[in-house]
């Protein structure tokens, strides 16, 4: 008996909305880790991941396409754009922690352009000025009716992470907001 290989079908793969002021792109697949780490274990987990877990609110750390995003006092979202096996890296950490692979739970969107902040502010009530939300800032927040993780990767570029089942909604909403902001 032959067992057919399961085929991954990334949702919305390659979709893009381009308007004069903002572009909304579906980010390529990445591996993601939902991390809960008590304060005493942060150093060991940071070492295993090769990236220092930030401990300040709204902070992030990046190295070689790997990003550690502060979500709460003991919670992080780790994204690796190269698709590395993040959970495997933590196998050697004996101290108590929780690491759940959520690579396929989330979908990422890149919102870029001079109207990027305005596009996101169409559904997100946070202050996205550079003073309040500088490059590298990250926050779990809301986008109209859904919860997102918002990560500022550049002055005019954001990464929006949402749950897969909300991906259609998020992409349609961001696309409409980008068009509205450019008309």
């Amino acid at each position: 008996m032959t067992v057919s290989q399961a085929t991954r079908r990334p949702i919305l793969a390659g979709r893009q909305t381009t308007t004069p002021n903002a572009t909304v792109t579906v980010a390529p697949p990445a591996s993601r880790l939902s991390l809960r780490v008590p304060a005493g274990t942060v150093a060991a987990v940071s070492k295993a991941l090769g990236i220092e877990l930030p401990t300040r609110p709204k902070a992030s750390a990046s190295a070689n396409g790997r990003h550690a995003l502060w979500l709460g006092p003991d919670e992080w979202l780790v994204i690796d754009e190269s698709g590395a096996d993040l959970a495997g890296l933590l196998g050697s950490v004996a101290d108590f922690h929780s690491a759940v692979d959520v690579s396929h739970r989330n979908v990422g969107f890149i919102v870029s352009g001079t109207g990027a902040a305005m596009t996101i502010n169409a559904g997100c009530p946070q202050d996205l000025s550079l003073a309040a939300f500088p490059v590298g800032a990250v926050s779990r927040t809301i986008l109209h009716k859904i919860e997102i993780v918002l990560y500022r990767t550049g002055e005019a570029e954001f990464r929006v992470e949402c749950w897969r089942s909300f991906a259609d909604y998020a992409f349609t909403f961001l696309s409409a907001a980008a068009r509205d902001g450019s008309s």
Binding site: P57, K58, G72, E75, P125, Q126, S139, R140, T141, I142
Partner: protein, 122 residues
Amino acid sequence: MLLIRCPYCEEERPELEFRHAGEAHIARSSEMTELSDDEFEKFFFVRQNPKGLIFERWRHIHGCGRFFNAARDTVTDKFHLTYKAGEPKPEITLMAPAEPAAWANREPSELNVDMPSKEGGR
């Protein structure tokens, strides 16, 4: 929109990220089975529901996910202060007196707002 200070995120965030979670500082008995029905009813159902200052639990559910406590005025919706879960209840005497709500039934002269002049314009 209300801005609520999250003591864990250390900044004010829009109210849409938060969820109310009932009255704060209600201690659960360590010997629940020993409680009389009246005592249990008081613990489980009876709440202060005051007009004015109240201590409440709130959760930054669409942010850091943490529960914290807040001192809020039920008349004006003003948040006097927020503090981390587990911290002692602040002294009430430290609270500023409740300010009148903007919509309270007061004479315009008592309200600290600019009123349009009768000639039109401001």
